[in-house]
C-alpha cells in the first residue's frame, strides 16, 4: 500500500534536521522526519565510562550499532572495514537529537573571518579553501534564533573578538570552575581576554526545564535531568506538537528518488521491521550529517545524475573536514579538580585569527572532566604507562591535572572525502561510506602554534609541567564532521547554492554540517543549527511562492 504523500521529508533528526522539521511543520507543511535511531535516555547507560559517545571502547551508547559499518582507506589500496566505535569511523550519534543529546554543548558562533577565509588568507597550495557564499551578518539572526529556541547560557560581553550581535543570550553564563579561576587570572596577566564558554545548557531554569546540576559525566552522555539542550528536548517536541510532523524512528533512508526531469519525488527507506518502503513528498531535506548526507546523495543515482544527486561536477563528499584539535596537558602542585561538571568553563578567542604567518587558529578552552580511564592515557613524554609508576601517577595527579585545547580550523582538501564503497554493504544492502584522505600540512603548523599558546597559558596559571597534544596528518572526523556538500555560488565548484538547495534539483536541500565551506575554529553545532533555520527560512519563502512544486 502506498504511503500518504507529504509536503516535506527530512532525513535525520539531529542538530539540523530537528530544526528543519520544526520550522516546516510550524509553517503548515506536512512533514515526515526520518531517524535511523530511536529515543534515548541517560538511564540506559548511566555514567558508564566505557560505553558513551566520547569513549566508545564497548560501543556507542547512542548509536549507531554494528549494522552500520564503514570502510576506512588508510592509504591508496589499503583499506579496512571499521565498526562504529572505531577511531576512523567518523561517528556521530544515531538517535533522536543525534549528537545534541550527548555533546559537550559549547554554543559558538563562527568568527566573522571564518566566512571569508580565502579572501583573508589566500588558499595554500593543495587546499580547496574558499569563502562562504554567505556572511556572518547573513547568519546572525539565525544564530540568535538558535540561541533562544534551543537555549544558550553565555556572556554577550565576554569575547571581544566575537562578531556583533543584536540580542543577548537568554541565560546568564556559567561560573568558572576551580581550574577556570586559575586560568582567568593567568589570562589577565598575559594580556589575553578570557570569558565563560557559551553553553547549550540551562544555567537557570529555562523553557520548562531545570538548571544544570554540574554532573561529572556530561560530555558524551545524555543529561539525567534534561538540563542540556538539544533538538530532542526542544524543537523536535515542538514539531510533533503541531500535529503536522510524523517522526519515524529506526528507519534507514537508502535513496532519494530523482525523476527524469531532475525533480526529487521522495525517498526509499527501510522501516523498523526492515521492510522496503517508498515515501513521496514535494521536497526533501537531507540532514544526516556531513558523512551520511554525502552518502545519501551519492547513493541516489538517476538519469540526469548518474553519479549521485547533485554530483554532476564530482563535488559531493569532497572537502571532508573536522578539527585538528591541539593543546596541552598540565600538572599542578595543588589540587585543581573540584568535581564540578562538565568541567569546560573558560575560553580565550585571542588566537582564532591573526596568528602571525598562519592561515587559521582556534578558540582555546579548558577541558571537559577526564574520567579515570581516559586519564590513564594522559601522560607526559617518557612517563611509564603501567606498573607502580602508573598507579602513583594516577593517585598523585588525577586531581592535579589540567588542560587547554582548541579546535584548529582545517584547510579543506579536495581529495579528503566521503565515497560510497563499491563492494561493502550494510545490513540493509546499502553501499557504505568509504573515508579517505589527509589534513593539510598547514593544519599541523597551526596545531603546534596553538599548543604553544596553551602551554604558555597553563604555565602562567601555575602548572609545574606541561606538554603538547598535537594532531596527526590523517583526517579524523567525528561529531564535528563538515564540508562534504559545500554551499557556493558557482555550481561547478559546489553542491548547493547559498540556501542549501542542491544545484539543478530545485526541491532537494541539505541542512547540516555538510554545507560548511570551512569549519571555523570553534565547535560547529550552533552554526549547524543556524543553518537549519537559514535553509528552512528559504524553503518556506519558496513554498509560499509555489516555486518548489
Amino acid at each position: 500500500m502506498a504511503l500518504k504523500h507529504v509536503n516535506a521529508i527530512v532525513v535525520g533528526a539531529g542538530a539540523g534536521g530537528g530544526i528543519v522539521a520544526k520550522e516546516l511543520s510550524e509553517a503548515g507543511l506536512s512533514v515526515v522526519l526520518f531517524e535511523r535511531g530511536g529515543w534515548v535516555s541517560f538511564e540506559e547507560h548511566g555514567q558508564d565510562e566505557l560505553r558513551n559517545q566520547r569513549t566508545t571502547v564497548l560501543g556507542n551508547a547512542y548509536g549507531p550499532d554494528d549494522r552500520h559499518p564503514r570502510v576506512h582507506e588508510e592509504s591508496p589500496g589499503r583499506w579496512s572495514i571499521v565498526p562504529p566505535n572505531h577511531w576512523a569511523y567518523g561517528n556521530n550519534a544515531a538517535c533522536v537529537g543525534s549528537g545534541t543529546v550527548s555533546y559537550g554543548a559549547m554554543a559558538w558562533r563562527f568568527h566573522e573571518t571564518d566566512f571569508r577565509m580565502r579572501s583573508t588568507y589566500g588558499a595554500p597550495e593543495g587546499s580547496s579553501l574558499e569563502d562562504w557564499p554567505i556572511s556572518y551578518a547573513d547568519l546572525e539572526p539565525f544564530y540568535e534564533k538558535a540561541e533562544w529556541e534551543i537555549g544558550v547560557a553565555g556572556d554577550r560581553n565576554g569575547n571581544p573578538f566575537a562578531g556583533p550581535r543584536h540580542r543577548d543570550y537568554p541565560m546568564p553564563a556559567f561560573p568558572y570552575n576551580r581550574e577556570g579561576r586559575l586560568l582567568e587570572a593567568a589570562a589577565q596577566r598575559l594580556g589575553l581576554h578570557p570569558f565563560p564558554i557559551p553553553m547549550l545548557r540551562n544555567s537557570v531554569p529555562y523553557a520548562g526545564r531545570g538548571a544544570c546540576v554540574h554532573n561529572r559525566a556530561c560530555c558524551g552522555y545524555a543529561c539525567p535531568i534534561n538540563a542540556k539542550n538539544g533538538t530532542q528536548n526542544t524543537v523536535i517536541p515542538r514539531a510533533l506538537a503541531t500535529g503536522n510532523c510524523e517522526l519515524r524512528t529506526h528507519t534507514i533512508v537508502s535513496e532519494i528518488v530523482v525523476d527524469d526531469h531532475g525533480v526529487a519525488r521522495g525517498v526509499r527507506y527501510f522501516d523498523a521491521e526492515d521492510r522496503a518502503q517508498y515515501q513521496t513528498a514535494d521536497l526533501v531535506v537531507s540532514c544526516g550529517g556531513a558523512i551520511e548526507s554525502a552518502r545519501l546523495l551519492l547513493n541516489s543515482k538517476s538519469r540526469l545524475f548518474p553519479d549521485g544527486a547533485g554530483n554532476r561536477h564530482d563535488w559531493v563528499g569532497r572537502n571532508l573536514q573536522d578539527h585538528a584539535y591541539s593543546g596541552a596537558h598540565a600538572l599542578f602542585e595543588q589540587e585543581i579538580y573540584d568535581d564540578v561538571g562538565p568541567g569546560a568553563t573558560i575560553a580565550v578567542g585571542d588566537f582564532s585569527h591573526g596568528n602571525p604567518g598562519l592561515r587559521s587558529g582556534a578558540v582555546l578552552c579548558n577541558e571537559f572532566i577526564r574520567p579515570p580511564y581516559a586519564f590513564s592515557g594522559i601522560r607526559p613524554p617518557g612517563a611509564a604507562r603501567w606498573g607502580r609508576e602508573h598507579k602513583e601517577f594516577q593517585r598523585r595527579f588525577y586531581k592535579r591535572c589540567g588542560g587547554v585545547h582548541g579546535p584548529v580550523q582545517e584547510m579543506p582538501m579536495f581529495a579528503t572525502r566521503v565515497q560510497v564503497d563499491p563492494v561493502v554493504k550494510d545490513h540493509w544492502g546499502i553501499p557504505v561510506v568509504r573515508l579517505s584522505g589527509n589534513r593539510h600540512p598547514a593544519d599541523l603548523e597551526v596545531g603546534r602554534f596553538i599548543a604553544g599558546k596553551a602551554e604558555q597559558w597553563l604555565k602562567a596559571a601555575g602548572a609545574v609541567r606541561t606538554w603538547p597534544a598535537l594532531p596527526g596528518l590523517v583526517q579524523r572526523s567525528g561529531q564535528h564532521q563538515a564540508g562534504t556538500c559545500r554551499m557556493g555560488n558557482d555550481p561547478a565548484i559546489s553542491v548547493t547554492n547559498k540556501h542549501g538547495q542542491v544545484h539543478d534539483i530545485p526541491n532537494l536541500f541539505v541542512a547540516d554540517g555538510g554545507l560548511h565551506v570551512t569549519n571555523g575554529g570553534y565547535n560547529p553545532v550552533l552554526t549547524i543549527m543556524a543553518l537549519g533555520y537559514w535553509v528552512s527560512h528559504h524553503i518556506k519563502a519558496r513554498w509560499k511562492e509555489g516555486r518548489l512544486t
Binding site: Q47, L50, P175, F375, S376, Q394
Partner: protein, 200 residues
C-alpha cells in the same frame, strides 16, 4: 602448549601478602577446574558449576592474571587481580571484543613460549623484577621475531594494556573495578553521584 603452572612461592625477601594469597587462590581454583570430568560425571552431580572463565583456559587465565597484576600492581590499594580486571577482559572477549579472541589465544601462547625460551621458565615462576623486564621487552618489541608473527609483541602488549586499564577504571557493570576500587583510590565518590547540585 600453555598448560597450568604451579604458582611460584613469593619472591625472595618479600613476605607473602594477603593479596598474593588471594591471587594464588584464584589461580589454584582456575587450575583445579581444568581437570573437570565428563559431562556425564557433572550430570550425576546434579547442579553444574559454571566454569570460572567464559573464554580463557585456566592456564591462559593464570598467565593473564599475572600479566595484568604487573600492569596495575596491588599495593596500599587493590591492583588488577583483586579488582577482577581479568573478568572484564574474559567477559568482553565473548561479546564486544570477540574479534580479539585470536589475538589473545595466540598472544598468550607466544608470550608463554617467549618466557620458556628466554628464561627457561613460565612467566609466573619468574621473580618480580624479571617479570617487569619481560613485559618491558614485549612492550618495546624486543622479542623473538620467529615466535611473534601475528600479533606483533607491541600490538599484543598494547591491547592487553588498554583492556587492563578499561577493566580497572571502567564501570563495575562490565566485570572489573570491583566495588569501584579505582574510584576510591582516586578519591572520587562511588558510585558516581548524579546531581551534586553545588555551586561552581
Amino acid at each position: 602448549m600453555l598448560r597450568p603452572v604451579k604458582q611460584p612461592p613469593s619472591s625472595p625477601g618479600r613476605p607473602v601478602s594477603r593479596r598474593t594469597v588471594l591471587k594464588v587462590g584464584l589461580v589454584g581454583l582456575a587450575g583445579a577446574a581444568v581437570g573437570g570430568g565428563s559431562t556425564a560425571l557433572l550430570g550425576r552431580l546434579g547442579r553444574i558449576a559454571p566454569p570460572p572463565w567464559r573464554f580463557f583456559t585456566a592456564a591462559e587465565a593464570g598467565l593473564l592474571i599475572d600479566i595484568c597484576e604487573q600492569l596495575i600492581p596491588g599495593d596500599d590499594t587493590p591492583g588488577a587481580t583483586e579488582t577482577g580486571t581479568i573478568h572484564y577482559i574474559d567477559r568482553q572477549l565473548c561479546g564486544v571484543f570477540a574479534r580479539h579472541q585470536a589475538t589473545y589465544r595466540r598472544g598468550l601462547e607466544t608470550f608463554h613460549q617467549t618466557c620458556l625460551r628466554e628464561h627457561g621458565q613460565p612467566f609466573q615462576a619468574l621473580p618480580a623484577d624479571k617479570k617487569i623486564a619481560v613485559l618491558k621487552a614485549i612492550e618495546s618489541g624486543q622479542a623473538p621475531q620467529d615466535l611473534w608473527v601475528e600479533p606483533t609483541p607491541q600490538a599484543f602488549f598494547n591491547l592487553v594494556l588498554a583492556h587492563t586499564m578499561q577493566g580497572f577504571y571502567g564501570s563495575p557493570r562490565h566485570g572489573g573495578n570491583r566495588d569501584y576500587a579505582s574510584y576510591r583510590m582516586l578519591g572520587l565518590d562511588y558510585p558516581p553521584i548524579v546531581g551534586r547540585n553545588r555551586e561552581g
